[in-house]
Symmetry: C2
Subunit: 281 residues, 2 copies
């Protein structure tokens, strides 16, 4: 997905939000705004939002000297999600359609995103996600393709959400490779976060080789790109991965909450809608 003009004010909001997690120094935060402003003319609307996100979070790290401002928040999200894990596992087990319920819960987990908003309520979101209609619902083709696949590539998004991904992986009944970011960026899951969520018990964890808050193949490692090319069945979670992968030529299933108006427009849905969308399927 390309960037839109409306993403520009939002880039400054994102930078300010991340900067404030890293420091209280108003002068450093103003410097962050100024440097982002100065770089704006080099940010093309043809680039995807996570490319700019990558630039922003690199600037936050450089200016504040804090290389992982979201570390504590990520750990907290993961602990809170792990506390919900046993009850959600029972909910899935008891459901008429356990796979669909696990998908709904994995999408609800996508609300854990400090990149988009500082506040959310995961319990309310889960309850809503179990009941609400999908705005895009490519579930039958998802099931068909899943049946044929011998291996799944599952591209994760945020820490904490990883616990909900684990619940879905348990329902896929296939070997899964779970993809995380190479280094910390916002609250996106790294290997450390995936292990803390217990993903290592249900999948093989690999890094995309990238520090962008989304999966942009061109800036991922060769190893990951080959993996993506060869994968039989790909699940990509969240907005950042949608933004980075929505123009790929291969089949991908996106599971996400459309958290911003711009992505909702791009998908042809409303803000807040839940989406199970397959491309090239």
């Amino acid at each position: 997905m390309k960037s839109y003009l409306d993403c520009i004010p939002c880039f400054f909001e994102q930078a300010l939000r991340a900067g404030r997690i890293a420091t209280n120094d108003e002068q450093l935060l103003k410097q962050l705004m100024d440097e982002l402003g100065a770089k704006l003319q080099k940010i093309s609307l043809d680039s995807t939002p996570p490319e700019t996100g990558r630039l922003i979070y690199r600037m936050v790290k450089e200016i504040t000297g804090n290389s992982d401002p979201y570390r504590e928040l990520k750990h907290k999200s993961t602990r809170e999600a792990l506390a919900l894990y046993p009850a959600l596992q029972r909910t899935i087990k008891k459901a008429n359609d356990s796979l669909l319920t696990a998908i709904r819960i994995a999408i609800a987990g996508n609300i854990i995103d400090f990149g988009v908003s500082a506040t959310f309520d995961i319990n309310t979101t889960i309850k809503e996600s179990l009941l609400r209609d999908f705005a895009i619902f490519d579930y039958s083709i998802f099931k068909d393709n899943l049946k044929k696949a011998e291996h799944i590539l599952y591209i994760g998004d945020n820490a904490g959400e990883t616990v909900f991904d684990r619940l879905l992986i348990e329902q896929l009944n296939k070997p899964v490779t779970y993809v995380v970011r190479e280094v910390p960026v916002i609250n996106d899951a790294t290997t450390e976060d995936a292990i803390m969520a217990g993903i290592d018990k249900v999948a093989k964890i690999v890094s995309s080789g990238s520090d962008a808050p989304g999966t942009i193949p061109a800036i991922c490692s060769d190893g990951f790109r080959k993996m993506l090319d060869r994968a039989e069945f790909v699940i990509a979670k969240g907005q950042g991965n949608y933004e980075g992968l929505s123009n790929e030529k291969r089949s991908i299933f996106f599971l996400l909450v459309a958290k911003c108006r711009i992505i909702a427009n791009d998908l042809g849905v409303s803000s807040g809608d839940i989406v199970l969308k397959g491309i090239n399927v």
Copy 2:
């Protein structure tokens, strides 16, 4: 009022909103964003938001070549407000406290502001304003000072809102000088807009000599500054005038809706609250 870090993303939103009124050319709009970005390091947080607003709307004019993008919208707002004028005049006449009702209506008119939001519903706002509590209510000192004054300086804000100001001016029962912006900036009222609203029937119209979307004495004309120094009783409408005048040493009564969180915080009220606040009174 100084600027806050949170004003920065909002400056880009304002520029984009005004730019879009002036042009559909995405390249020009991107240029506008880029140029604002490049200027950001020269924008001090010690400056007031309308100083930056002035810079933004000058850039919009230069880049798009449109010197008055809001002209049609201003005329439309004024026509719509004039259509409400007779009924609102009757409401005020019938009220137990006609002055207070006129103040409430004048504040409701402050919701007409394309600088802050592109959408609003003036009818709903008026009904709400007639019933709701003030978050700051310096009404008795307002009445006391009004009684003593022989002349009123009334600093207007937006076109359309001018019609509601006219209703309040009719209740003041004193000679009034009504202050407008020197040239078009956003949807702020100029002499043309004030005349279209019939202000010339109830007050003498003068210009502040400024093209900022708010009254910043340092960049107003000498004539206006003298008028402000000598005025017995000053009413200033809206956020832009509050931002520009809140640190003045003289007595001023501000009538406004706190439309943004930052100004609400500065005033110690909640976003959406209505305010009748006197300073140095």
